[in-house]
Amino acid sequence: MATLAGALIMAGAVPAAQAHDPEALTAGHERPELSFGRSEQYDYDPPLPGSYRLPAIKPAPDGRVLDSKERLHQLHALMDGRITVLAFIYTRCSDPRGCPLAISLLYDLLFVARRDPAIGGSLRLMALSFDVENDTPEVLADYAGAAQKDHGAAGELLFLTTRGEAELDPILEAYGQPIGRKLDAADPFGPYTHQLRVFLIDPERRIRNIYSLGFLDPRLVATDIRTLLLERRGQSPGG
């Protein structure tokens, strides 16, 4: 697994610039996320935090999950009064427009959280696998461990799985996260299709935004996180 980080960079899961010189990127910025800058895919300046509302979409469903050390948790307990970013992924997905993008977003947010205590102390990042066959706690531990080796303490980013479909399916259903098996189980990009969705959940366990391809801009997600923080302080319009 030593090559995982390199593979993640190749697949776009870890920003190459971040891997090279993260400190240089934040120089002169109050919002570290702005260091990611514009790109062809995200060719705009994000709005100011707190300048807009994030209406509650629906309550964030609960469910029982396993962490990479085989400990059982309730999702709600892990959210623990924090702002949570939850992505549904599977580690066998190598489609650069799929799960690696979601993982990339989580690492980008980790990058921001480590440079801004206002976010770092309030944020929970979670990647929940829907591949119960492959993504055992051991596999997730390797996955997280390899990332930790190259990016420092990865403990703030939780890799989760479930004990089986009986516990997984109600979670997927409740979040509205459809998945399907490809006809070709040997597809080089992985055996599953799924709608790429990442959820922003507030401390009251309400879903406040849903991101998919086209929205996985760490600048926007970090701006949303700041908007929720301002809302808690009574400094934004609220949901």
Binding site: P47, A56, K58, F189
Partner: protein
Amino acid sequence: MTRTLWTLCGLTLVLALGGSPALADETCQSPYMAKITGQEEYVYVWTLGVQGLGDGSDKLVTVDVRPGSSSYGKVVASTSVGGRHEAHHGGLTDDRRQLWVSGLDTSKIFIFDVAADPGKPKLVKTIDDFEKASGGVVGPHGAYALPGRMLISGLSNNKDHGGRTALVEYSNEGKHIATHWMPTAEDSNGAKIESVADGYGYDARVLPRKNVMLSTSFTGWSNYMMDFGKMLQDADAMKRFGQTAVLWDFHARTPKKVFHVPGAPLEVRWAWGPRNNYAFTTTALTSQLWLIYEDEAGEWQAKAVADIGDPSKIPLPVDISLSADDSLLWIDSFMDGTVRAFDVSDPHQPKQVYEKVIGKQLNMVSQSWDGERLYFTTSLLANWDKKGADNEQFLKAYDWDGTELKHRFSIDFNDAGLGRPHIMRFGAKSLYSN
């Protein structure tokens, strides 16, 4: 073989197409949903009921378009929703499992499950408190997929039944999330106003990579429910048409600029190309093709770039469809029953390259991803459709070979006792079977 393109873990199919534009869609729909990049299998037609015709109710009609099927070109399912609601537009959710269609008169929204059996959609939910939940919006029009939610553009309001209205967000589960009122001169919500801000609405579509949304403007309940001939004679009514297009900061849902686009700009189509920062719309009353574009200084501008037919004859352009390569724009006009194709390779200088009369009246057009198949329907509004022998109501399918539209099949919705066919959306079993 039906191919699908998902914005997710399944890139193989994209590569098989040689890297097709990632944000395109087979019928110019939301960029956030799975796409049918091969042969569509079903066409869903949201159809207005006609008193005394069949059961008289609005209904979702499913047509089999699978080549080689024994029921190719035939109606294979029809599900009535009970009553007439002024069936008009609708759209699929981002996961393409539901089709939301709405009624402009009763402001009801009907949600069909199209995933369990794509050949036989099932009505699973009706939203009947849209007006109350939205805070007074009337006439839910488009249903545009966003991640996990739907954006509904309204046409009117319950205070004066005029054109001032809002964009309304619902979760995919059918719960109201938010209402965003259109900017007006009195409440611009921070928008820069070119000339006027009427607060009207019609279509709303997003260009994610620029974080912008463009909305357009039509008219309110008091006009779209009025007899067309009577309205034309009513000078005051004719003043109550939209003349704006609004550019929004999409993420913040705040208006940035209100363009003056006189003559009721209707459908919006963003270009697909990764550097094509522009959209087209057409004005119904002034018969012009408009370009909304980002200039070299990064400012968004709007200008008329072509006439559609002879504007003095008011052909009433209604629906448009842009090819996936941004080269060809199909424009239907209602009064002359004609479809015109414009070469828009240079969006600032479109040139008409083809036209064909499809029928005595014409409204919607939907094209396949590859641009090789086009489908047309006829009904505009129950009280605006032509009368007598001119009131043709059909679905017609054509093949496009690059130079000529060649007829494949027709279904006469009058003879079949179905009603007035309006919006079309495509379905395919392969979206759900893999």
